[in-house]
Symmetry: C2
Subunit: 206 residues, 2 copies
């Protein structure tokens, strides 16, 4: 299905602990457009009936144990042969396309780059950082021990990559899927915001 | 060996046909600093005695047939157990480090990002583009047929990646090796130059 609409949109994929969410929020604020992150969860909950907690835990993270279990579910749901995770993907995808049609905006995570890839006026960004600067950020933010933080970070990375691979058949964090990739640990959050703002304002108008 | 010096340097790795070389040249011009690309070949030729043509063909491209042959060469050279490609790597590496010590500059290709990686004041960029826009650029530049261009492009990509992998034990084009990755086909050469210029002038001063 080809997705065609006219609003200028930025999608931000981000490594856990890279500050991508904050960069997205600040970017949207400076551009005067909405940033959709947790808001997607609310909309999906409203429109699909899934519990917010379930969406939060399964809307961009693979959970192999649950996944394998669900792949044996019989075709009794309104979605036919899909399991509950596939149904969440379908509901989330519909909400992202709907929000994109409503007006210019920033999306954080949830494979929005893939879902909106056929739309020319989408700028897709990947925010990443080296392990040390991600650990520093998470320790400061959540006050976890270094060991717990590192375990948490690696787990989140793996599950996000697996989720992306499963539903897009492509590699999360591979440059070819993005227009711009920025190392926030090296060039700083504020510089990332400014660079994305310039690209949004000046450079892409296709 | 740790490499420590004070000059601010930008290294540009680039996919063949992405316009990375032109972006590097323009960036250096606007910053008023030298851009080293073919100049590295001249310096390596002067300092090592290798023929320019040999350096050009083997200084950033793997050539598996030659490589396998050379790995059986006995230890008779001044470089001990190294084959001729390893000797070229050593000579090229020495020239890159020497040029980096001479003053602020831009390096295009030749694993300069890896060779200078321990230096805090290096900004490493990767310039890439989708296949269609690379083919368009090459057809316009070299007037080759579409088929020849595509074959040439894939061959160059593969040999650059193999060379990088062999000498750095890392992956060419993997975001983690770069501070910024820009899709020139999507955001345009001029925007790439301006973004790198800003990063150089404002954002990195470590």
């Amino acid at each position: 299905m080809e997705v065609v609409f006219m609003n200028k949109i930025i999608t931000i994929s981000r490594q856990y602990g890279s500050g991508g969410r904050g960069i997205g929020k600040q970017l949207a604020k400076e551009l005067g457009i909405p940033c959709y992150d947790y808001e997607i969860i609310e909309r999906v909950a409203q429109e699909s009936g899934f519990a917010k907690e379930f969406i939060e835990q399964n809307g961009e993270y693979a959970s192999s144990a649950v996944w394998i279990g669900n792949s044996f579910v019989a075709n009794g749901s309104p979605y036919g042969g899909m399991n509950v995770h596939d149904s969440l993907w379908v509901a989330q995808r519909a909400v992202i396309i709907k929000l994109a049609e409503e007006g210019p905006c920033v999306f954080v995570g949830r494979c929005a780059d893939y879902i909106l890839r056929d739309k020319q006026d989408v700028i897709s960004a990947f925010i990443y950082a080296d392990m040390d600067s991600r650990l520093d950020r998470l320790k400061t933010k959540y006050g976890q021990s270094a060991e717990a933080t590192q375990r948490n970070l690696k787990d989140k990375d793996k599950r996000r990559a697996a989720y992306y691979r499963f539903y897009t058949d492509d590699e999360w964090g591979d440059v070819k899927n993005y227009d711009v990739c920025l190392n926030s640990g090296r060039i700083g959050d504020e510089a990332c915001v400014q660079i994305l703002k310039e690209i949004y304002n000046d450079h892409v108008s296709k």
